[in-house]
C-alpha cells in the first residue's frame, strides 16, 4: 500500500496483560522503525528492521518488549506484562533505503490501566 498501516488505533490493557501492535509498511520499503511517543512529545526509538532482520534494537527494553517482521505478514510489536509506564502512542515508520525519508503510520495509542 501507499501508506503505513497500523492497527489497532487504540488499545486498552490492564496492568500485567499482553499488548500486541501491528504495522504494515509501505510496499517496497525495506526498513521499518518503531517509536514510542510519551508525554505527548518525546519520541523514543525502539527498534528497526531491514526486511525481516533486526537492524538495531538498542532502544528496546529487554525484558518485556519484543518485535518481529516476518515475510508476507505485518510487523508486530509485543509487550508482555504491560506496566502503567508503557502507556504511550507507538508509531511505526518505513523507508525505502537507509537514511532516506521515513513515512509514519497513524500510531497505536496504548493505555494501560
Amino acid at each position: 500500500g501507499e501508506e503505513v498501516a497500523q492497527t489497532p488505533k487504540h488499545l486498552v490493557r490492564g496492568e500485567g496483560q499482553k499488548a500486541k501492535l501491528y504495522c504494515a509498511p509501505i510496499k517496497g520499503h525495506s526498513y521499518v522503525f518503531w517509536y514510542q511517543q510519551v508525554l505527548k512529545n518525546e519520541f523514543k526509538f525502539l527498534i528497526s528492521f531491514q526486511n525481516e532482520n533486526v537492524f538495531d534494537e538498542t532502544g528496546m527494553p529487554k525484558e518485556r518488549f519484543s518485535a518481529k517482521c516476518l515475510p508476507n505478514s505485518p510487523c508486530s510489536l509485543e509487550i508482555q506484562a504491560t506496566k502503567l509506564e508503557d502507556s504511550a502512542v507507538y508509531f511505526c515508520a518505513s523507508s525505502q533505503a537507509p537514511g532516506t525519508e521515513a513515512f509514519f503510520g497513524q500510531g497505536t495509542r496504548l493505555t494501560v490501566v
Partner: protein, 114 residues
C-alpha cells in the same frame, strides 16, 4: 550520541504573522535533516527534508528551512501563518545514528490565533 535541540517549547502567533522555529543538531558530519508536523491527534507528516545541495529547502504548505552548517542549525520558516498551521513541529536527524533511526527534538507547539 547526537542530539537535536528545539529552543521554543510553545509559540503563539496571530494569523499572518511570520514564523521561525529554531532547531540545532549536534552531529558534526554529513547530516540528513527533517521537519515533521503533527496535527492534533494525527501522525507525523513530513514538511521538508535536507540531504545535500541548496541549503534553502522548500517544503509543503509554504514552509521552508535553511541549513546553516557553521551554526549547526536548520530553522523552519513561514512568511505568513494560518490558523490551520496550529500543530506540533518536530525537527529530526538520522545522521550519525549508525542505523538510520530518527533522533527528534522535543517539539515546538505552535498555536495560531485567528
Amino acid at each position: 550520541a547526537q542530539s537535536v535541540s528545539q529552543h521554543n517549547h510553545h509559540v503563539i502567533l496571530s494569523e499572518a504573522a511570520s514564523l521561525e522555529l529554531g532547531c540545532n543538531y549536534s552531529y558534526g558530519g554529513t547530516v540528513n535533516l527533517f521537519w515533521y508536523v503533527q496535527y492534533p491527534g494525527q501522525h507525523l507528516q513530513l514538511l521538508l527534508k535536507y540531504f545535500s545541495g541548496d541549503p534553502l529547502v522548500k517544503g509543503i504548505k509554504g514552509f521552508e528551512a535553511e541549513f546553516i552548517k557553521s551554526k549547526f542549525s536548520f530553522n523552519l520558516r513561514k512568511p505568513s501563518v494560518q490558523w490551520s498551521d496550529t500543530a506540533e513541529y518536530f525537527c529530526a536527524t538520522n545522521s550519525g545514528a549508525g542505523s538510520y533511526q530518527l533522533t527528534f527534538g522535543k517539539g515546538t507547539k505552535l498555536s495560531v490565533i485567528p
